[in-house]
Amino acid sequence: MPLLTPLEAEAFGLSLRIGAWSACASLPPALAVAWLLARGRFRGRTLLSAIVHLPLVLPPVVTGYALLLLFGRHGPIGAWLESWFGIVFAFRWTGAALAAGVMGFPLVVRALQLSIEAVEPGLEQAAATLGARPIMVFLTVTLPLIVPGLLAGLLLGFAKSLGEFGATITFVSNIPGETRTLPIAIYTLLQVPGTDAAVLRLSALSVAVSVVAVFASEMIARRLRRRAAGA
């Protein structure tokens, strides 16, 4: 007997794909926001911080509903994206990735912001006096020094998206093979009597993936910290 049924394998594969896409796609905007929060001095910094952290405290169903309003086929952003770029989020796996990315965004920003704040501003000043424009200072000094933070943020975003449920099911529903990720698959099975064994298997799978992600993040962080210490 194979370890997973085709349906379970499908949900698992979908979760990994959505997790990878949401983590990777949210990294650049998260980096920009984290840099603004860490180094920027401008009006509305607190407001930006509050907006970024909103998904952390809002009921996920509200976030999902907001996404539906904004990114649905008739939403202002969704309609615009579809007519100009042919990108559709509603009821697609891409929408699930968007929902997961938005929900994980505050965590990713936080990880990046902390690592940017840990970069000695004196190093960036030294780079500037040596002739580096601000963008080059960022690329040659700040960015290399926050690689541990980048990887930590990436893995955190990935791990968070594996557990995303509320916003995803509200925004893109529960479509097998398209938006039915591991948690949604578990939820679906729970609605059917006599599926305890399958629920348990999928739950164990979820735990295993999460443990691996967190463990890998820890390993990478430790290794980079050792290297940064100058071995």
Binding site: E120, G122, L123, Q125, A126, A127, A128, T129, L130, G131, A132, R133, P134, M136, V137, T140, V141, P144, L145, A228, A229, G230
Partner: protein, 358 residues
């Protein structure tokens, strides 16, 4: 190189309002910690914006708040060396050194890596990472990194303050070579009188955010100004003329005469600076005889000033070099000293800008 600074800024608990000019060479910003010296270094490098004022280098406006001019640090071509080195931890020493050169491009016409590496004695460090370097090595690499960007001015902000005396003695000769061999204009921020005497041509004394004295070092250091922040003393540039091994003495010559000092590690032809503190100089109106003091220099009194309740400070012209003497007011009155009078300066002790004896 000429430098003209006229800036003011106010921060909570601190105001800076300074103006000074420098014709080039090594300009020392001297004063206590917290006097505002490092802020001036930051203003020159472009890391700090003044509330108002102007900074000109060779006539080029770097900052002019009235005209809304502020040249950002990366376009100033002013090399900076900081107290804490600030080497990039993720790059090797070689790539740290070449960082600025890369941004300045070829048109900057800087010295090749090899020349700077040899000058600073850091060839064996090139493939190491900053974390593995000692404090003195880090500072030498930081100096090399700033030099390789071909700066028109090097700003050194307390570059030796974090080092122990042995490391300071290790780096000071390299700074002298920059001054003497590369003729690189420098602004040298320090609270150490010894470093300043050894390196500076121009002295700007900063106290509580204000310039209290500025000018050529020999002139400024000879002032008897209670607010001057420095102990008065003459700074002499001398050459080792001869060595008398039998008595262990060296003869040093300068425009105003010769001095005899313990030979130490001096060698003939060597040029160095030495300091003669005012309290180490006594005055005689007639050529003294039967005296153990070796160094007696003919001089003319320039002026007298009160130096405390019982003391008088004299400035003497000794063949174009200014000497200073601090004597009691009683002696000054007894000897009836007056400006223009020819006297003999008795030099009791000489301090060197480098330790002559191990």
């Amino acid at each position: 190189m000429s430098l003209s600074v006229e800036v003011a800024l106010a921060r909570p608990g601190f105001t800076l309002d300074v103006g000074f000019d420098s014709p080039g060479g090594v300009t020392a910003l001297f004063g206590r910690s917290g006097a505002g010296k490092s802020t001036i270094a930051g203003l020159l490098a472009g890391l700090v914006k003044p509330d108002r004022g102007r900074i000109l280098i060779d006539g080029e406006v770097l900052v002019d708040t009235a005209a809304g001019v502020f040249v950002p640090p990366h376009r100033r071509r002013i090399g900076s060396v900081f107290q804490d080195g600030r080497l990039f931890p993720h790059l090797t020493v070689r790539r740290n050194l070449l960082y600025g050169a890369w941004f300045q491009g070829r048109q900057a016409g800087g010295k090749p890596l090899g020349a700077i590496v040899d000058l600073l004695g850091i060839a064996h460090l090139l493939d190491r990472r900053p974390a593995t370097l000692s404090g003195g090595e880090k500072q030498r690499v930081a100096i090399g990194r700033a030099l390789l960007m071909a700066p028109r001015l090097l700003v050194l902000d307390e570059p030796l303050a974090a080092l122990d005396q042995a490391r300071k003695d290790e780096i000071l000769p390299y700074l002298e070579r920059l001054r003497d061999e590369m003729r690189l204009p420098m602004v040298y921020v320090s609270h150490s009188r010894d470093e300043v005497v050894r390196l500076a041509d121009q002295l700007v004394v900063i106290e509580a955010g204000k310039v209290v004295a500025s000018g050529p070092i020999g002139e400024v250091s000879s002032r008897f100004d209670p607010g001057g922040g420095t102990e008065p003393g003459a700074v002499l540039a001398v050459t080792v003329e001869a060595i008398d091994p039998a008595h262990g003495l060296a003869t040093l010559s300068f425009a105003g005469g010769t001095l005899c000092v313990p030979v130490g590690r001096l060698s003939v032809g060597q040029r160095l600076r030495l300091q003669i503190r005012a309290r180490d100089v006594a005055i005689a109106t007639t050529p003294p005889e039967g005296l153990s003091i070796l160094n007696v220099l003919p001089a003319t009194i320039l002026d007298l000033a009160a130096a405390g309740p019982t003391a008088v400070g004299l400035r003497l012209d000794c063949g174009g070099t200014i000497l200073v003497a601090q004597i009691t007011r009683l002696s000054a009155e007894t000897l009836a000293l007056a400006p223009g009078q020819a006297v003999h300066a008795l030099v009791k002790s000489v301090s060197f800008d480098r330790p002559p004896i191990e």
